[in-house]
Symmetry: C2
Subunit: 350 residues, 2 copies
């Protein structure tokens, strides 16, 4: 089945069929309908190779995802790939681990695939101009900024929440419920990245209420938001006899792992310990108890990142820095303060 | 920084640098080390454009993902993209909803991107030869087969579990624990797809124990494994006064939604009702209670699907049908039978 066959069957010219397929206005509604029905009935797939051959520019955008099991990224990525598709570009994706170097990965991808632009989903917060110079195409930092780095504002673009403010908001919710001994489970206190920035928000909220930080209540778990690491960190807090009535974690999945560890050790959530997360992934509405969390607008962040990147690629706009709002969604994992945690073992059924 | 600069700085010829970068054996270890250090120090990125230009074939594989929020697919996809990368190919991904047509999407992608092969992650089980003829490149059905269709075995390839057997195994676990009134929450009983096949496994397990199927215990929720639909289906079962001591769902996330719905209505899991899922996503080990589930080897399925596709693309092998094993992982969401469920409302905290 070729375009000629479709034209013959419809009794119109090849150029008319072509105009319909390219969604051009100069075709009557009746003819358009007839052509589209014929295309549908015969499962005809337009062959764009000829058009592709005369294209002088690639239509490919690179997407480098850092932290491969991050469920929040999965939500953002869905919107990113849908928006790239709908704008007529092609996404080439590469995944790297938490210790991977997104800039080098992006630079290699840029040369291999002749990219027009790059979108980094997750990354370091401390790029230097020398590192960024590896890239010869516009790029957008999605879900992070250059807080600890030395890039000039006009040399890159970003779409993110205010990580420090979000953590501050989450911990303030616990403080408002009367909690004073609030534990934190963070990958790192000083990784010059998202973890350090959110830890700063935790510290700032405590400071607002005149509460000195207690190192015994902070568990560094390393890694990149993995559940196993968060689970082990909570177990270490309990084993060390740390006394806390609430627990702050950096993400929803870490919060779920924390709830699991507390429950497995006989600490009830929220009766004995409140837990709060950040992200608002769809799943967090179905945990037992429902997670209280700071919701990031994942879909909007994905769409906006692509729109911003394409405005730079197509030359209709320059680099900008878009800051998204987070919203507290109250679940059932937080309650007003009662007694400090006293760990005691329990055994699972089955 | 060009390859000439690297050669000059190392005091070797350009062709020596090239041999190192292409990992060729005819270079001394000392020189190799010197060149690689220089490349590292200067953040030099090899430019493969010239090599790309002389390539006559595309290195692009299409990946069409059906059911965009499926967390099991996210696990498979991680292995798929990593394997495609490591084999030196490029993945171009497209996501479609549960009502999307993966064959047409694949056919359009094939023409637009000059694909060498296609991998479908999730899809219909009832392709006809006419539909499959839309594709001119080898394709692999990942996580499904053509059970209800009419393709010849030699005309397509697949990597999947035995969906009927997995469901049979899950329900048999409940039967062995003494359960006789076992509810099922399935997207559809007759969608000629994965849902129907797993529902057949549920029916077959009941039949093995001489238990007649009870339509009052089966809730069709539509959609494509979404949590909201599964939650609503369990609520409908409870509202209708259905009496059951166990519940079978098609996926881990549906099982999590079911546990949530039961808990929200005062039905305790597993004390009042046992729940079993299928998938074994990492998250299911962190639910409260830990989910009992049939584990699919997600990573292995992803790797094997790409290996199978590339053997066809590169002409080293023909289409094959790989059947993967599932393993029962006992969590804490199932217990020996007690009393039938008597729904009563409870109120959430906070």
């Amino acid at each position: 089945m070729t375009i000629k066959d479709i034209a013959r069957l419809c009794g119109v010219s090849v150029s008319t069929v072509s105009r319909v397929l390219n969604n051009r206005p100069d075709v009557s509604p009746e003819v358009r309908q007839r052509v589209l029905s014929m295309v549908e009935d015969h499962n005809y797939i337009p062959n764009n190779s000829a058009r592709d051959l005369v294209k002088t520019q690639s239509d490919t955008l690179g997407v480098v995802v850092r932290g491969m099991s991050n469920l929040f990224f999965a939500e953002v990525l869905k919107a990113v790939t849908q928006t790239i598709d709908s704008r007529g570009y092609t996404a080439v994706m590469r995944q790297i681990g938490s210790d991977g170097d997104e800039l080098k990965t992006g630079a290699v991808l840029e040369r291999e695939k002749k990219l027009r632009g790059l979108l980094f989903l997750g990354g370091r917060f401390d790029y230097t101009p020398g590192e960024a110079a590896l890239l010869n195409v516009p790029f957008v930092c999605c879900s992070y900024t250059n807080w600890f780095g030395s890039l000039r504002e006009e040399d890159f673009a970003s779409v993110s929440i205010d990580d420090r403010a979000a953590a501050h908001q989450a911990v303030s919710h616990l403080l408002a419920l009367g909690h004073r001994r609030i534990a934190a489970v963070v990958p790192s206190r000083s990784d010059r990245s998202i973890s350090e920035l959110r830890y700063m928000g935790y510290r700032a909220a405590l400071a607002d209420w005149g509460i000195p930080p207690d190192p015994a209540l902070v568990a560094e778990c390393g890694g990149c938001f993995e559940m196993a690491e968060a689970y082990a960190a909570v177990e270490r807090l309990l084993a060390a006899g740390a006394e806390f009535t609430a627990l702050f974690t950096l993400s929803d999945t870490m919060a779920m792992a924390a709830i699991k560890a507390l429950t497995d050790h006989g600490v009830r959530v929220p009766e004995d310990c409140s837990v709060v997360g950040i992200d608002g992934i769809p799943l967090s509405a179905y945990t037992v108890p429902t997670l209280t969390t700071l919701v990031q607008p994942a879909e909007e962040m994905g769409r906006e990142s692509v729109a911003l990147l394409l405005s730079m690629v197509e030359g209709t706009g320059g680099p900008r820095h878009v800051r998204m709002e987070t919203t507290l969604r109250q679940g059932s994992s937080c309650a007003a303060v009662r007694q400090p945690v006293v760990p005691h073992k329990s055994v699972e059924r089955e």
